[in-house]
């Protein structure tokens, strides 16, 4: 089991817009290159993409929370 880390500081969002579905649900799986979340910083929204396939066990921070660089945002498994 591992974690996905924020590669930049900012504000963390799990969905592309407030009314949209999350990119990945807890328990959901993802494929390499898939967007897991976006981080807003420097007036831009930056996609956080998965490097390999996996499953999100749980998110460690809430939608809209501040995140620091290198912080774990989700626990993931294979």
């Amino acid at each position: 089991m591992g974690t996905i880390k924020a590669t930049m500081p900012g504000v963390f969002y799990r969905r592309p817009s407030p009314d949209a579905d999350p990119y990945v649900e807890e328990g959901g799986s993802y494929t390499p290159g898939q967007t897991i979340a976006v981080i807003e910083v420097m007036k831009t929204f930056n996609e956080l993409k998965a490097e390999e396939a996996g499953t999100v066990r749980r998110f460690l921070i809430d939608d809209g929370d501040e995140v620091s660089m290198g912080q774990d945002i989700a626990e993931v498994g294979e």
Partner: protein, 323 residues
């Protein structure tokens, strides 16, 4: 072929030098490297003049391929670096060959790495500078941040040698709260005494709105002196008759979100400014990240000039290591 090929651009990487001087009066900010010490140190390590153009990345470093033999140095923010997968050090000159690829792991301290290549990034100058100013899309590479597949021209390299490193004591520190030496003044008369005390006594948190234009901060509340607004100023207590803003000056719209204006900032406007971060400490704020804390430390002009001389003497020591 003397080019740098951009495999991945990072989050926001631009060509910068010591800045574009002489156009503040038409409303054009100087741009240039936010952390001038790291930019100049990187140039010195690779045998460039301090004013040669480097790459300034923010938060995520780029992945770059070299097409000829060059000397390279990376300074500023700390990140594990690799050349073709093999580790290479920061703050130290190393040699690259055609086909070599430089990549960054996640930054461990600071915000902005600087990448200098012997010969410098040789994009065309605009008004005497290669610095990128993205607001009006000028300077740098087509006036914009780098994109995947870009090819950056390089200048003629002089005879630098690999292996020269900047000793630890000359490198910047990355404290948990970054102190910013500040000359209080300008329109500081707009704040009450309690407001000024709160400004200087607060550890301010850097918000997500922190970029080359300015850093917006949160964490305290500043009270304004009540007055009838002077003619032409506008109605808000934070408004003044529009005036020029020094680079590094701090404005306080609303009283609860100070903004430190930086290299790409607006050159003037109608908000009261209450002091100016000294030029040497713009290097420090450039390496502070969203979510980090900063504090303002009041100093006088003599201390501001001393800080500037100290930066110069640290650069001169690096220069002497290289020659």
């Amino acid at each position: 072929m003397s080019e740098l090929i951009v495999h991945s651009p990072g989050l926001s990487t631009t060509v910068q030098d010591t800045g574009r001087d002489g156009f503040y009066e038409i409303g054009m900010p100087p741009s240039g490297a936010m952390d001038q010490f790291s930019h100049r140190a990187a140039n010195l390590l690779v045998g460039n003049p301090e004013g040669a153009a480097t790459l300034e990345a923010t938060y995520i470093g780029p992945k770059l391929e070299f097409t000829d033999s060059r000397i390279v140095a990376v300074t500023g923010a700390e990140a594990p670096l690799s050349l073709n997968g093999e580790p290479v050090p920061t703050w130290e000159a190393f040699a690259v060959k055609p086909g070599d690829v430089l990549s960054f792991a996640m930054i461990t301290a600071g915000a902005r790495p600087y990448i200098a290549v012997s010969g410098g990034i040789a994009v065309p100058e605009y008004l005497g500078s290669r610095s990128t100013y993205t607001l009006t899309g000028l300077g740098g590479l087509d006036g914009r941040k780098l994109a995947e597949g870009d090819r950056l021209p390089l200048g003629e390299a002089s005879g630098a040698r690999p292996g020269v490193r900047v000793p630890d004591e000359l490198r910047p520190e990355h404290p948990s709260v970054t102190p910013l030496r500040t000359v209080v003044g300008l329109c500081s008369y707009r704040l009450t005494d309690a407001g000024m005390e709160s400004f200087l006594g607060t550890e301010w948190k850097i918000t997500k709105d922190a970029d080359r234009v300015g850093y917006r901060l949160r964490g305290g509340k500043l009270d304004f002196v009540e007055r009838e607004q002077p003619f032409g100023a506008g109605s808000d207590p934070a408004n003044v008759v529009d005036l020029g803003y020094p680079v590094g000056s701090i404005q306080v719209p609303g009283g609860d979100e100070p903004i430190v204006l930086l290299n790409d900032a607006v050159t003037g406007g109608g908000y009261a400014t209450i002091g100016t971060v000294v030029s040497a400490d713009r290097d420090r704020i450039a390496q502070a990240r969203t979510g980090d804390l900063v504090s303002f430390v009041p100093v006088d002009l003599a201390a501001a000039l001393a800080a500037r001389r100290d930066r110069r003497s640290r650069l001169d020591r690096i220069k002497s290591l290289v020659s």
